[in-house]
Structure formats: C-alpha cells, structure tokens
C-alpha cells in the first residue's frame, strides 16, 4: 500500500503559497517541495501537526493510502 501526499491539493484549497507555508511550519522550501512530491522517507508528527494547524485540516486530508505493490491480499480480520 502506498501513501499519497495530497499537500498540494490542500494548499490550493487554502490558497497558500509554498514559501509562506514553509516559513510558517519551520521547514525549508526544498523540503516542502520534496514532501509535496512524496519523495521523503517520512514525516515527523511535529511537522504534520504544524501543517494541519497552518492549513486547518486533518492528517487524513493530507495523507491518503492507496493500494499499490506489496499489498496484503485481504485486510486483517476485524478491519472495516
């Protein structure tokens, strides 16, 4: 299962520029760009929390799970 970053969608909805957002949450514009393109190894909870605060959204609005390579054949029992 792949994690897709929808940060660009949320930024467009909130009409926030990358430079402004990066300064607001305390990361470099380059790292924000890497995050938008999904080329980062991971995201810290602190950064995710700041993004949600700055964009007034939930983590689920920024991150989406999609079936991809290496998915389980079926969900574990008890999962919705």
């Amino acid at each position: 299962m792949d994690i897709i970053v929808r940060l660009d969608v949320m930024m467009a909805r909130r009409k926030v520029k990358g430079r402004v957002l990066a300064a607001q949450i305390g990361i470099t514009e380059q790292n924000l760009s890497l995050l938008k393109s999904g080329k980062v190894k991971g995201i810290r909870f602190e950064t995710l929390a700041r993004l949600c605060q700055a964009l007034d959204c939930q983590p689920g609005d920024l991150l989406e799970a999609e079936p991809g390579s290496g998915t389980l054949s079926e969900p574990l029992s008890g999962a919705a």
């Binding site: 990361i27 790292n31 980062v40 190894k41 991971g42 995201i43 950064t47």
Partner: protein
Amino acid sequence: MTHITFTRRARLLAWGACLILCALPLLAAVAIAQGAFTEAAVRDTFNHVTINGPVSQAALWLYRAEAMICFGLVLWTFYLLYEWLEACGRGHALEPHTARYALRLGQPLLGLAVLNIAGQTVMILALTYGNAAGERSLSIGIEGYDVMLLLAAAILTLFGYIQNEAARLNIENERFV
C-alpha cells in the same frame, strides 16, 4: 559538548596532526644525518643478538628498507588523521567520506604492528646468517608496543564502522521532514 566546540577542537587537533606530519620528515632527515642507518646503529638496535663479523650489506639495506616502510606508514597514519580531523572540523563528522578516513586509520597501524613483528624476525635471521652453524638465530617476538598498535588498529577500525553507521543514520534522518 556543542557542535561549535566539537568542530573547533577538531580543527585544533587537525593543526596538531599537520604540524607533526610536517615535522616528521625533518626529524627523519636529522636522524639519518646523525647515523641512524649505519652499521653501528644496527648493532645498537640489535645489541641482544650475537653478530659475528661485520653486518652484511644485505642486512643493512633490509634494515633501511624496513625503517623507510615503517616511516611511510607513520606518515600515512598522520595524513589520514589530519584529513579525518579536518573533515570533522568543517562540520562533516556524520558524512560517509569522513567515516572512511576513520575506517582506514586502522590499516597503517595494523601494518606497522605486523611489519614490526615480522621485521624483527627477518632482521635477526639476516644478522646472524653469517654466524657459524649453531650460532644462527630465528626468533619471533611480540612486544607491548606491538600489542598496543594492534589494539589501536582494532579500536580505530571499530570506531570507523560506528561512524559509518552514524553517517548512514544521519542521511536517513535527513530524509525525514
């Protein structure tokens, strides 16, 4: 220890290593000028060995060759030490190329220890080869100095592996936003 303190101390130590690196050839030149490679010096170094007759030219040149190789290894050690400390002083302590210097530092020390042990054996054999039958010697000895060199080589190599792992983790950490 703050990052600035660490880099400052690393730069100071790098300067120290550089000074030693520059001084060693001068000291070697002085030692050679004062007869470090003469027959008398060889007899003095191996005063515990019975040498009948003059020291052969082959033994003399073997002694000189061993000394020059050891000197080269010492120079290489200080060069690697300088490069390692210089990289740490520039703030590149947790980068793979810096860790490689630490990894390689153990190699010349290991070489020095092995050369010292083997060199002593070969030299004693060469010096006593001209003796009468029954008076030739073959001895293998490991001194405290050799053990310390081996220990230092092992510790530095291990430290190099640890620093390499730290560099890998640092790269991985930087990929977290």
